[in-house]
Amino acid sequence: MAATNSTPTQPAQRPLSPHLGIYRFTLTMAMSIVHRITGVGLYVGVLLLAWFLIAASMDASAFATFSWFIQSIIGRIVLFGFTWALFHHMLGGVRHFLWDAGYGLDDPEREQLAQATLIGGLVLTIVVWIVGYIVR
């Protein structure tokens, strides 16, 4: 080892493993990040399910409070976001299963798979909301 000018008290400037700042942007990378974000979003969003179930188990006035919130503009936006996060995360899981089985890891397939997951999540969300508004 050649001697360096750094003093012994300073930690050695070893190269760090490459991280987000050094890679170029790719769709699969963004999908990986969004998978985690939707997972955390669902983690918090399940509070809404708990509120719904607890209100329904209590009485009509508790349920009316929940109904008022979920029918408000903010409630609808939150529920729409929850629906999208649920479908996006679910399709992301399917994508991971395909990868685990050894499919879709190569260049064109993994990009197509990422696009299919992204579009599929949005389409499923919009279809479910259209059904929710139309079918009674």
Partner: protein
């Protein structure tokens, strides 16, 4: 695990040849088992919510009082709470270090357990009252 800063040994040399912790594969497998279960359960859950969408308090209660919707909800909540706990655990392990990590892991377990049990209790109460 915090290394001893006074040691002359590098962190790498301290762990070299010890092998893996032999604990990673189980968590990896359980997130996949719960994922597989959650795919049909999520579809059934969304379907159930669509049937509940335009119902009032009594309509929702009579629908959730039926065995099949209640069982779908119970399965979704139990598997979902488990999946949540394991998933958030890996997020915490990635981003939080030191003692805060232990607190975060504990809070994660408490949150998932409390949420899961609260939902279970509510569904069972609707079914049996």
């Amino acid at each position: 695990m915090v290394g001893n800063d006074n040691s002359l040994r590098t962190p790498l040399s301290r762990v070299r040849f010890l092998g893996s912790a032999r604990l990673g594969a189980e968590e990896n497998w359980m997130i996949r088992v719960s994922s597989a279960a959650l795919i049909p359960l999520t579809i059934a859950f969304v379907w159930l919510l669509l049937t509940l969408l335009h119902k009032d308090y009594n309509g929702v209660r009579s629908e959730l009082g039926e065995p099949l919707p209640a069982i779908v909800l119970l399965l979704f909540v139990v598997v979902g709470a488990y999946h949540m706990q394991v998933g958030m655990r890996s997020v915490i392990l990635d981003y939080i270090q030191g003692q805060a990590r232990e607190w975060a892991l504990m809070a994660n377990s408490f949150f998932a357990a409390a949420l899961g049990l609260a939902c279970l209790y509510a569904v069972l109460r609707i079914s049996f009252t």
